[in-house]
């Protein structure tokens, strides 16, 4: 906005002018993380509105007869639900008691003992904050509650219900919950998010987890924001102990191909029912439910090379994601290289270049050689071919971090300056400013 020209409006009392100035200066800009969180919330709200609108449009198309049928069906459903002991409409959610602490103004939970704080809701759901955890009950509404973990670890036991929805924020991540038992940790200083799911399923959205990750029982998600790394591991099923045990992936017909030998694996004939025609639908379902192992088992069964030659563009991305999440960076790399070779002008060709850089960074942990230098090569190619692409900020930020690690601040500083000019509110702006300050 342009500066205020003098003399075109009334003169304030000096005290009022000073107060206005004080109010102006008291407001601090939001951090990049807070902005990203805000954007996620807006996108979530838009999606919810779209769903509501679609539903409304569908209803509008139904005539009076269909509406009457629907009403009749609803009545039948409610009655049968009541007969089965499932109420047609759940009672409102309210906090029934708080153990080991008190609820302060603004929703913060203050711990009074050394055993953490426990919030118990009327329908059986419990939130347990571990000692030293800072958390806030943001809202309690008729159909659930919204809780925020600002720092530390909290466990949640959510009673399953079709009518209730529970939201748990942990730093910039949002966990959407139905009925489940899980533990969430957020380390605000290390910017590390961790979720261990014992029962049910949840959807995690936030930075790095593009579009959200669906987790199922027994899975453990760790996201490191500074490394932009997402890893999902799976607990071993505890001797068939009921619903909490994860559903095992189908056993591979051939032994799994070691990740380090992906490129030279043998081609096996695809078994019946596992051909390319059946695969997209199955993989889409596996992706939506977080069954990454099912995808990888399919690949192992059909043979890596055969899959890489027959899979479509989107399938190769699904495979690369599954392999990344399950720490098989060589398989992820092979899938992305196959995509690059087979779909060089496809709509996702540039995405593959960026993700190759990410995968090279993952390889650093398990392989010798300087994968970081190769990652920079991929980021450079992406930035050259898509200077304003959707991953440009991320590519430039990662390049800056890796250059600093490999060549020191002097070499990284020009990249930091470029980053701040191009993406002053980007995720790596803090790191870029810190680099500029290093002598």
């Amino acid at each position: 906005m342009t500066p205020r020209p003098p003399g075109d409006d009334p003169q304030d009392a000096p005290a009022l002018a000073a107060l206005s100035e004080l109010a102006r200066d008291a407001v601090q800009p939001h951090t990049a993380g807070e902005l990203d969180q805000g954007l996620d919330a807006v996108v979530g709200r838009l999606a919810a509105v779209r769903v509501r609108r679609r539903a409304l449009r569908r209803w509008a198309m139904v005539g009076a007869t269909a509406a009457a049928c629907g009403a009749a069906a609803l009545i039948v459903k409610v009655r049968s639900g009541a007969r089965e002991g499932v109420p047609g409409r759940e009672p409102s959610v309210v906090v029934s008691r708080i153990e080991g602490g008190t609820l302060l103004e603004g929703g913060y939970l203050s711990q009074s003992g050394a055993a953490g704080v426990k919030v118990v809701f009327n329908e059986g759901t419990t939130f347990q904050l571990m000692p030293g955890t800072r958390g806030k009950l943001r809202a309690v509404e008729r159909d659930g509650a919204h809780f925020a973990v600002e720092h530390g670890t909290a466990s949640f036991g959510v009673t399953p219900s079709r009518d209730h929805q529970w939201l748990v924020e942990a730093g910039p991540f949002l966990v959407t919950v139905k009925g489940t038992v899980f533990t969430v940790s957020w380390d605000s200083s290390a910017e590390r998010f961790e979720l261990g799911l014992r029962q049910g399923h949840v959807l995690v959205t936030g930075p790095v987890v593009n579009g959200g990750i669906a987790l199922r029982a027994g899975q453990h998600l760790v996201v490191s924001l500074p490394r932009a790394e997402t890893v999902i591991t799976e607990d071993k099923p505890a001797g068939g102990s009921g619903a909490a045990a994860p559903e095992p992936a189908a056993p591979p017909r051939n032994p799994p191909v070691p990740a380090t030998s992906v490129a030279s694996s043998t081609v096996a004939a695809p078994p019946s029912g596992a051909g390319p025609g059946a695969r997209p639908r199955r993989w889409a379902a596996a992706l939506a439910s977080g069954r990454w192992d099912r995808i990888l088992a399919d690949v192992d069964r059909a043979g890596v090379d055969a899959t890489l030659e027959s899979a479509g563009s989107d399938e190769l991305f699904v495979l690369a994601d599954a392999a990344r999440y399950r720490r098989r960076p060589d398989l992820a790399r092979a899938a992305l290289l196959a995509h690059r070779r087979r779909f060089p002008h496809g709509p996702r060709a540039l995405d593959a270049v960026f993700l190759l850089g990410r995968v090279e960074e993952l390889r650093e942990h398990g392989s010798a050689g300087d994968a970081r230098a190769q990652a920079i090569v991929w980021y450079d190619e992406y930035l050259a071919r898509a200077p304003a692409g959707p991953y440009a900020a991320e590519a430039l930020g990662r390049k800056m971090i890796l250059t600093n690690e490999l060549g020191g601040p002097a070499r990284a500083r020009p990249i930091a300056r470029e980053y701040l000019v191009r993406f002053p509110t980007g995720s790596y702006a803090g790191a870029a400013r810190a680099l500029e300050r290093v002598p």
Partner: protein, 197 residues
């Protein structure tokens, strides 16, 4: 696909076409400013964040109604002002009926660097609460956001004379209230000596 280098017009066209990159870019380009304006207008960071989400949801939903892609910035700000005025109106109504949900106290005051400044800000927002939503918005945009009268008129959809009248009204009343409060005027005088950098 465009991105951070896209001009406002290109960004607006991306929004109108429903491009996902345009949503993220619009947010990152305008949300920081709108958040600060909202926080100054409402005196609360939490309420500002809620209001700004509402603003951008409306902007993204109504993007197709934007007639001139060059005026994306004004488009965003006009939604912001509308949402903020409506929030201020809701607050006034809640203030008339104490049995309704309580009015959130301003948390902006807690961000001030020292005790005296916090006290001053709490008093300022108590005075702002006595203004009508329109006068308050005009005052905030003029004095805290340093917008020109022309810009305020465009953003708020008012005539120049209405903006000037509203500003004179807000400024006159606030000045009178500040001067009539000896503690406040004294604090400001002391503050000017001690707080100013």
């Amino acid at each position: 696909m465009a991105g951070p280098r896209a001009g406002d017009a290109e960004l607006a066209r991306g929004l109108m076409a429903g491009e996902s990159w345009a949503i993220a870019e619009t947010w990152h380009r305008f949300a920081p400013m709108v958040l600060m304006t909202a926080e100054r207008a409402l005196g609360s960071r939490a309420e500002a964040e809620d209001a700004v989400q509402e603003v951008f949801c409306a902007v993204f939903r109504k993007a197709r109604t934007l007639r001139d892609p060059e005026s994306l910035r004004s488009f965003v700000y006009s939604f912001a002002v509308r949402v903020l005025k409506s929030e201020l109106r809701r607050r006034r109504v809640r203030g008339w009926f104490p049995f309704l949900q309580p009015v959130t106290p301003p948390d902006l005051a807690h961000r001030a660097p020292d005790f005296e400044s916090r006290d001053l800000l709490a008093k300022l927002y108590a005075l702002l609460d006595r203004l009508t939503p329109r006068d308050r918005m005009v005052f905030v945009l003029r004095r805290m956001e340093s917008m020109t009268v022309d810009e305020i008129a465009t953003t708020m959809g008012l005539s120049l004379s209405t903006v000037k009248r509203s500003m004179a009204h807000a400024s006159g009343r606030l000045s009178r209230w500040v001067q009539a409060d000896p503690g406040l005027a004294g604090l400001v005088r002391g503050d000017q000596g001690g707080r100013r950098r």
